[in-house]
């Protein structure tokens, strides 16, 4: 896809192409427990992104030779619907989806008490129904919710955000137009919020060390804001309770 020739002002007077500030997230909605057959599930809308996650497990990991006798496995499967992108996507998973599945599964592994479930697998299925940049971080955020909804014991939730650069500015949560900027840098960033441990980090583009410092700080803040929304979504399911306690 040819990049547009006309110069875009990716950030002008503190406003981005879609009117957001440099540290502003797109609108995000999260819902937990949306699939009756799954052990845990979540749905997220993040900007135009619409992603569904279902969790099955822990269950016996088969074939047997794949089992780990000391801890469970996280099997993360990230897939995109053919109609989730502008140019119809071939239903067969491509290398991008396979890579995302791998790094996302590794991100979640660190947060789950896998030693409690030797020989088992926890399957996380992600289906992207609509996309506009940042699907992997939105999916990971929802996946962590789905794991909590399934009752899988965890050390912490995993929250994720995209951070990067466009038009010379360090910005939070790039959308598709910004990803297409000539100097675009896209950094998917995921942490376990209590300890600030980074469990997913990738980068695409050219960045100076100072720019990275700025981006890292922005990424941390962004993740923590996402974390607050995750807690809300989990509590909302059982929300009535808080009011009842207060009556006493």
């Amino acid at each position: 896809m040819a990049k547009k020739e006309e110069k875009k002002d990716y950030v002008k007077s503190g406003k981005r192409l879609d009117g957001r500030k440099v540290d502003e997230l797109r609108p995000i909605k999260m819902e937990v427990g949306v699939l009756p057959n799954a052990d845990g599930s979540a749905y997220i809308e993040w900007g135009q992104n619409k992603i569904l996650v279902g969790v099955h497990g822990p269950k016996e990991a088969l074939p047997k030779h794949k089992q780990n006798p000391y801890r469970g496995l996280v099997r993360y499967v990230y897939r995109m619907a053919t109609f989730s992108v502008p140019d119809r996507k071939n239903p067969k998973p491509g290398r991008r989806e396979i890579e995302i599945s791998k790094v996302s599964g590794e991100a979640l592994e660190h947060s789950v008490f896998l030693e409690k479930f030797p020989n088992t697998a926890i399957d996380v299925f992600v289906e992207v129904l609509d996309s506009n940049a940042g699907t992997r971080v939105a999916a990971l955020t929802a996946a962590s919710l789905a794991l909590a909804d399934a009752g899988i014991p965890m050390k912490d939730l995993v929250c994720a955000v995209g951070v990067g650069k466009a038009g010379g500015e360090i910005i939070l949560d790039l959308n598709k137009d910004e990803e297409d900027a000539p100097d675009a840098v896209d950094i998917p960033f995921a942490i376990m919020p209590r300890t600030e441990e980074i469990v997913l980090l990738q980068m695409d583009g050219l960045l100076s060390r100072q720019e990275w410092q700025k981006a890292a700080k922005l990424g941390m803040e962004g993740c923590k804001r996402v974390f607050e929304m995750q807690k809300e979504a989990l509590r909302k399911k059982y929300g009535k309770m808080e009011q009842v306690s207060e009556k006493k």
């Binding site: 006798p69 008490f113 020989n119 009752g151 059982y238 306690s245 006493k248």
Partner: protein
């Protein structure tokens, strides 16, 4: 059977959920930085105690623990479970108990022969490091059916000393045995009303006045 049900209701320091101050916690959330005895579903990090599950904690309790609102069943010794016989083995049977693996019953622990598809109740004898269990004290059920409920809600369905279960039995006329594993054997009575009552308990297990609400539901006239 009722006594066992009552005990099952009090398994693993799950105390009465009616009176104390309670709080919903998410995985990784701080329970307390005081020194307390550790109960279920919590872990220690740098001297502080955190929840590992989405559940309810009682900040005033002497033990730091979390009662999960969701989750699969993992067998623990002395649990009463309801199972379905899957197959015979050389010297015993494999019985599905709604967990990761089926459990093993040695033939010498059963008075009668078990048949495939049969419903039984049993107690968990031992559990190994990969969460596989062996059962004993097997009783066979004849007739009836199995209901599936959320394992996390079983203590609430049984209630303190079996109190909620008694309400359910009296209000529906059903013969009911609820396994800690989330499967319940039911025979006779108004099964449809029982299912409605259990759904109510599952949905509002963490709210107050649940017993009253359940009693009201059971009293309501049957709609033909």
């Amino acid at each position: 059977m009722d006594e066992e049900q009552g005990e099952a209701g009090l398994q693993n320091s799950e105390q009465a959920v009616e009176h104390k101050k309670k709080q919903i916690v998410v995985p990784g959330e701080l329970i307390t930085d005081e020194r307390k005895k550790l109960g279920q579903h919590v872990f220690i990090e740098n001297g502080k105690i955190y929840s590992d599950a989405l559940g309810i904690t009682y900040p005033d309790a002497g033990v730091a623990y979390v009662v999960p609102l969701v989750g699969i069943y993992l067998p623990q010794s002395d649990d009463l479970v309801v199972g379905i016989v899957e197959r015979e083995t050389v010297k015993g049977y494999m019985v599905g108990i709604n967990s990761i693996y089926p459990s093993y019953i040695s033939a010498d622990k059963c008075r009668d022969m078990l048949s495939k598809g049969g419903i039984v109740s049993a107690k968990v004898n031992s559990v190994n490091e990969i969460n596989e269990a062996e059962l004993f004290d097997v009783r066979v059920f004849y007739g009836g059916e199995i209901l599936s409920v959320s394992p996390a809600k079983v203590p609430r369905i049984i209630g303190k000393n079996g109190s909620m279960l008694a309400v359910l039995k009296n209000g529906t006329g059903c013969n009911v045995v609820v396994g800690r594993n989330g499967w319940a054997w039911v025979k006779g009575g108004d099964v449809a009303k029982l299912i409605d009552a259990i759904k109510l308990i599952e949905a509002e297990s963490h709210l107050d006045n649940l017993t009253v609400k359940v009693e009201e539901l059971l009293k309501a006239k049957k709609v033909e």
